[in-house]
Symmetry: C2
């Protein structure tokens, strides 16, 4: 389903993308959802990068308002919310994978990250399919 | 040629990318170089987005310091510098094209931009080859 944003219809597609997902913390949340299967507030908070609670809450609200993620009740825990990528959010996977591939060429990565870059290079489509599948299973 | 950045070797490849090219103005400069063949200070200044001279000078310096672009003397005008994308800069083209493709699905674009999205969808490799060719011709 297309979801045109009329307010931004004169904008440049490069800056539109940057406005929506181009901040460090939003990208880290998306990375964790796409590649590490994280889907709760607690999961995101536990990331190595030590996001603060107020920034995390703000970015989740922003990504939800932009239609990139959506939240629902956790059937196993009424107090917990489960976050999942919408179609619009899943469609961002190629941008994130290409960013990782690029960085992989120019910075030294640990073994786990190097394996991810190799996977992107050899099986980009398979990885994309996995990201879609995981998002839609939530 | 690989150009590992030892200072950042423990970083995440997503945030590394964002630190280097993830600001609005850097991306606009890269877009203009990749897709519109712009290669001088005056060219960048004339962009629709009205970048200010101090921001432009700052971003060019930043992109040069990061090894994304390089400058040389214009053989036709000794006072003018020609900017071109390094290999590291050219390697960013997939990130930019995927961002444009994503935005093209979710915002209304004018005819020219829509044509670009169609081109990315149908002839991504041809467009990438063109970007490399243009960069290396400078």
């Amino acid at each position: 389903m297309k979801n045109f944003d009329r307010k931004r219809q004169t904008g440049c597609p490069v800056t539109y993308g940057l406005d929506i997902f181009g901040d460090r913390w939003s990208l880290l949340i998306l990375r964790d959802m796409m590649l590490h299967g994280k889907n709760t507030y607690g999961d995101f908070l536990a990331a190595d990068e030590h996001i603060s609670t107020n920034i995390l809450a703000d970015r989740l609200k922003h990504l939800e308002a932009e239609g990139i993620i959506e939240k629902s009740d956790d059937p196993e825990n009424g107090k917990r919310k489960i976050y999942s990528l919408t179609e619009k959010g899943q469609d961002l996977a190629p941008v994130i994978l290409e960013t990782i591939r690029w960085s992989g060429k120019y910075i030294f990565l640990n073994k786990e990250r190097k394996a991810l870059v190799t996977r992107i290079e050899n099986d980009r489509d398979g990885l994309l399919a996995e990201i879609h599948q995981r998002a839609n299973a939530n």
